[in-house]
Amino acid sequence: MTHGVDAGRPLEAADREPCGPGSIDPAAQEMLERAQELGAGTMFSRAAASRPCPIGAGGACCRICFMGPCRFAGPEAESKQGVCGASLATVAARNFLRSCAGGASAHADHGRGLALTLLALGRGQLADYRIKDPEKLRRVAAELGVAHEGLGNAEVAEQVALAALHEFGRQEGTQTLVGRAPARRRELWQKAGVVPRGFDREVVEAMHRTHAGVDQDPAHLLEQAVRMCLADGWGGSMLATDISDVLFGTPQPLVSEANLGVLRADEINIIIHGHEPTLSEQIVDAAQEPEAVAAARAVGAAGINLAGICCTANEVWMRRGVPPAGNMLHQELALLTGAVELMVVDVQCFFQGLADIARRFHTRLVTTSAKARMEGVEHVEFREKEAGETARALVRAAITNYASRGAVHIPSHKEPVVAGFSHEYIRRMLGGRFREGLRPLNANIVNGRIRGVAAIVGCNNARTTQDEGIVRLVAGLIRSDVLVVVTGCAAHAAGKHGFLRPEVFAQAGPGLAEVCETVGMPPVLHMGSCVDNSRILTLLSDMVRTGGLGDDISHLPAVGISPEYYCEKAVAIATYFAGSGVHVIFGGVSSPVGASAEVTHLLAAGWEEAYGGQLEFISAWQDILERASAAIEAKRVTLGLDVETERVLFDMAARRAG
């Protein structure tokens, strides 16, 4: 096994030198060389060839109306005005809010799609789906206020789906699942006026407010960003996660492998890419059908190999063990192997550049969502009523295409991984069937074996060295006894570089290592896709409820980090975490509001004061590591955990009082 980064090596001066462009992933490095040989352009080469517009990068470009675009540049930028008189702060805040609207909408539309699937299933319209976790269905029903006693699963499913859809479209009242947050957090939201209303209302209102000549107060605009994103985190994303678990099963750990090395030279390779589990689950089933396997053998392949990219990968990785071929920046590299018969995409984070590369090989690239097509790319529209048949047809197309395969170049790099830590499983893992719960986690944070928890989430970005920030931070934090949870493309990075193996406990600090050895868990827990960041919200709320660590999320020694963010979804996630009381640090590229000192201050100190959480942009991973560790230690001090406490021994009086 080759590790791009030796996680066990202590940090030395040499590690602090920039690694240069490209990737620290040896598989990516190998494929980038291959791309050069083939003369194929990739995101890596295009990023190197074009510089980001420096005005837009910092949020200083306003193109909301057609009197502009107005740009705010130069030493006095903060005091300049647009044609309409808008300040730089207003412009940067409006841009930020619009980014959040885009990101939140992506999550919520994903959630809505799942709710519609559940509705159709509940109404008996879908033959190819079933409810894999009926217990969770009933738990979610109870949370949504759906009476389920005495009803069959299908009826409950229909009612839950209707209740979920109501959450998206509700015109009155507020999101129901915010009830999952600790009481103190809900009171804070109530007082601050940011309890999220119907999701669609929040987004429409955000678009309205950012229209020319409406909301022109930066702080007020950013408040709407928080309320809208809370509707994402505690609504759209949370429903997406919960309904996915109901339909496809609540994840628990399983063993798989990660990186391009999971592609097989002697098998038909199908890559599922995008974000939704609805079609990909069907493809997993279809690829395992004996007829399909026989057909594959008939064309000379040893079998059918599925692999995932991005969050579709996460969904089927943690539920079905389908190996992930890599994160966002691997999508083109996977096709460059020449070994992919079929790449199926659904929604989000697949790029038009794929089409050019697919055309160089025999690879069939197929879009499937009614929402997402690419010019010149084959489209097979996915309809849930014909899900199984569509999936089988796609698998057959891949099988047929095998005969057209040319030379292949598959990197050998891959790492074993253990993934699939749902919030429910984490509770079970820590106490078994009868003592499930987070008490051991909290107890070991209180006693200092674990200093705190860090969520490392989000994307890759072609303008930063792929995986470097993520991997360095994972290694650095676990070495400092911080338990790390990962989702999305950051989870792929952790897996590709060997950090999702339980053996990695030996690279953690002594306290965290001891806990890992006791529990049998890796020090880095894979919690799912990017909508599954809602699992982290649930986990944090449960930690508060478990006790010993304050009574609000903002009291927990926890940080959220996206070291290599690239998209609007990431910004929406950052905002709902900060609005939920988490200290969030985004890294890699510069701040999207960096042009405005005022907005930068509002997101950090302003939100800290209002919500107990904040959003900071710090480019270098070394600085993020320092800042994150300091933030965790500061929370420990506030909780009084920095003081060594005497062991309490109980006499009878103490027991009566207890």
Binding site: R435, P440, G520, V648
Partner: protein, 763 residues
């Protein structure tokens, strides 16, 4: 980090528990199969005299296993919970699985042990092995856990390096008042146990055997070899040779949770939180630990009971399942007891008593047989008396112990001497009313010395000193030293100075007896004059809230605490000793219903102290808003509707009662701090009180009680009946010898002309 290699916990503990649970499954399947070949599927599967079925399975799952057939489900469910041992690489998390494997093992142990009572497997009661602890034992001993006189229990498995080492460990635990429950052996050769037919459990990947360990023995057998007295009386309880017999340790803990904590069976999380927070038990694993023991210990972790081991097994120090560490290993014998206590989070107060023998509550139950006897004091052969008086401060020299008369070593072997103990105390808070309370403590003080037996009180005391204690240097002077030390330790708030004079000449003792009898008369008259109406305050007792969080006792002059241990004067003294303690004065306030014994001051106190669970109580009524009980009541009274009366049964009566329930079932009905109209828990002597269910007509309602109880209380009942105008009531009360079915009781009452039949209808 442990000193072990990274795989320690995984391979040894998680793997061991999985393998051990699997072995228990195989054993249980085999034995249940045998049982089903020999018996009908509907054959009862049960432990003797318990209302809790197979108590651990009942508490955790809510399933009442009553027949062989019922056990099949448990075996299937256990099988589902047993994981494979974790992989050597790329393992999945195993802590939760290990706890599940442990719980499965515990259930299987319970089935295996219950099957022994059906004759499948070795006999459960055999030689020194005592087998199951029934509900009578659980309740009687449970009281000691509740009031703190037993701070917890050690579940010892395996054996010490030698009988002497075992005896030293046992004595140290006795001195700390712990119960020591024993089951499971240390085996050098895994085959040995099977050869002896003791167990077919395979051994497994245990750690290396420390040098000097015996081949296959048990802690209990070692104690026996060292001449240590075993049994419930000395708190050294040998359950069984196989580790599966430790199910009785866990069964004890969960029955305390259900009986005293009022927890509903099946509320697993609450039961397990209760045992973690309120039952202070730990596992002491001595010698090589086998897979079966790993499985049992993993099961015990679910209950919050950590394991402390002297051998080289991996430690699990990170917290979260137990109060502190989970598994602490390689602890030397010299510190293993204190380490275990600290690990469990237990604080034990030990009073230093300057005597040449061991001292502690665990020695109170020790017997001294004639062959062990050095000298007898007082008793049937010689006069004896104990008298405690308050005295002016200037006449008491604190710590002065004077022996007047011959010492014990001047008496021939096995001979008798008279004994008079005069204790004089002074203190600004000392009151005359406290004299009898402190005097009664002398029994406990003296009895807790190893080798000293104390029976009775006042002028009917009887003491025995063992040869071993005498050889160790125990003299009459030490009686005084014990009393002095304990008075200061336990009653320091009211006793500032204490001096003791011990008389051993007949004429001195007889003189003291005369003086004492005059004092006793005066005391009895004063107590007799004390009525509920003559005082303004009653006393609360929340001593039991360590185990029954919502229960509160109200102690009145005419209704003592339901455990029988605390009367109104005790409450008064206890409040002086510790004003923030469990006994507080409660103003009666205005009488809401004097006939039923309802006062608004009492109601409001009970509401608060029960955390709102109880709104009002009638002190003298069994039918309407009766007082609640924890689980340590001596007796239960219940209405017999057909007979227009009540029955009273005490916890020593194992048989059926006319209510159709045995004591243990009745106890489940009234315990745990809930009001159950028609049933109350109370002290035995309460039946002699004028306030005994006086709202319903008092003692004349008493229609049935166990024969033994009736004889023990005869004088009390006769006096109460006399006062109530039914001089020959006692003989009209039915016992189990007359009738057990309610219809038969009715027939007996009609024949006997019991007054209840002509009283107002109860309903």
């Amino acid at each position: 980090m442990t000193a072990d290699s990274g795989g320690g916990v995984r391979e040894v503990i998680a793997g061991g528990a999985a393998r051990g649970a699997r072995a228990f499954l195989d054993l249980a399947r085999e034995r249940l199969g045998t049982a089903l070949e020999q018996h009908e599927a509907s054959t009862p599967l049960e432990f003797p005299n318990t209302a809790y079925f197979l108590p651990v399975i009942y508490a955790v799952t809510g399933r009442a296993v009553q027949t062989l057939e019922d056990a099949v489900w448990i075996l299937d469910e256990a099988e589902r919970m047993i994981p494979s041992p974790p992989a050597d690489a790329l393992w999945l998390p195993y802590l939760g699985d290990t706890l599940d494997a442990g719980m499965a093992a515990i259930w299987l142990m319970e089935v295996v042990e219950a099957l022994r009572y059906l004759g499948v497997g070795p006999a459960p009661v055999d030689g020194l092995w005592l087998g199951a602890a029934d509900d009578v034992i659980m309740r009687a001993r449970g009281v000691e856990f509740v009031d703190g006189s037993a701070p917890g229990f050690a579940a010892v498995t395996g054996a010490a390096p030698s009988p002497e080492a075992a005896a030293a460990l046992a004595r140290e635990m006795q001195e700390k008042s712990l119960y020591v429950f024993m089951a499971g052996e240390t085996v050098l050769d895994p085959g040995l146990a099977a050869q002896r037919g003791a167990s077919s459990l395979p051994g497994g990947a245990g750690a290396a055997v420390p040098p000097g360990y015996p081949a296959a023995t048990t802690f209990a057998e070692q104690l026996q070899a060292a001449g240590v007295q075993l049994g419930w009386e000395t708190r050294l309880v040998p359950f069984g040779r196989d580790v599966s017999s430790h199910i009785y340790s866990l069964g004890f803990a969960v029955r305390v949770a259900m009986a005293f904590g009022g927890l509903t069976p099946g509320q697993a999380a609450r039961v397990l939180d209760y045992t973690r927070d309120r039952v202070f038990a730990f596992i002491m694993a001595l010698g090589r630990v086998q897979d079966a023991q790993f499985a049992a210990a993993a099961g015990a972790l679910n209950f919050g009971f950590p394991t402390i081991s002297d051998s080289d097994i991996p430690s699990i120090l990170p917290g979260g399942i137990c109060t502190y560490e989970q598994v602490v290993s390689r602890v030397p014998h010299c510190s293993i007891v204190s380490r275990a206590i600290e690990t469990r989070g237990l604080k034990i107060r030990v009073t230093e008593v300057p005597v040449p023998v061991a001292y502690g509550a665990a020695f109170a139950g020790e017997r001294i047989r004639r062959e062990d006897l050095r000298v007898e004091m007082a008793g049937p052969q010689a006069p004896g008396v104990e008298l405690l008086l308050s005295a002016p401060s200037q006449s008491v020299v604190d710590g002065r112990v004077t022996v007047v008369g011959p010492e014990v070593d001047s008496v021939p072997q096995g001979g008798t001497i008279p004994l008079g103990v005069l204790v004089e105390v002074s203190g600004r808070k000392m009151q005359k009313d406290f004299e009898p309370i402190l005097e009664r403590q002398l029994h406990h003080f003296l009895n807790e010395a190893e080798g000293l037996l104390h029976v009775g009180q006042r002028d009917i005391v009887w003491l025995r000193l063992s040869g071993r204690a005498a050889a160790a240097g125990f003299r009459l002077e030490h009686l005084g030293r014990i009393v002095h030390a304990r008075l200061h330790a336990d009653f320091g708030e009211i006793v500032e100075k204490a001096q003791v004079t011990v008389f051993s000449l007949s004429e001195d003792v007889e003189r003291l007896v005369e003086r004492a009898r005059a004092v006793y008369r005066e005391r009895d008259e004063r107590i007799g004059a004390l009525t509920d109406e003559s005082v303004d305050v009653f006393y609360s007792c929340t001593l039991c809230q360590s185990f029954a969080p919502d229960h509160v006792c109200i102690i009145t002059p005419e209704r003592s605490g339901l455990c029988g241990a605390y009367n109104w004067l005790d409450g008064k003294a206890a409040f002086q000793i510790d004003p923030t303690g469990p006994n507080r004065p409660v103003g009666k306030g205005a009488a809401v219903d004097p006939n039923r014994g309802q006062y608004d001051g009492i109601n409001s106190f009970v509401r608060d102290a029960s955390h709102g669970a109880i709104q009002r109580i009638n002190l003298y009524s069994i039918l309407e808003d009766p007082m609640t009980a924890c689980g340590c009541f001596e007796a239960v009274s219940g209405v017999l509707p057909m007979c227009n009366g009540v029955m009273t049964v005490d916890r020593d009566h194992p048989g059926m009662t006319p209510s159709g329930m045995k004591f243990s079932t009745l106890a489940g009905l009234v315990g745990g701090g809930v009001q159950t109209p028609g049933f109350i828990g109370h002290s035995r002597l309460y039946v002699g009180s004028k306030k005994f269910i006086s709202a319903e007509g008092g003692v004349a309602r008493l229609v049935w009680m166990p024969r033994r109880l009736k004889e023990e209380l005869r004088s009390v009942i006769e006096q109460a009946a006399q006062d109530a105008g039914y001089p020959d009531l006692c003989d009209r009360i039915a016992t189990e010898e007359d009738a057990v079915e309610e219809e038969e009781v009715m027939a007996f009452l009609m024949e006997a002309g019991h007054p209840a039949l002509t009283m107002d209808a109860l309903f």
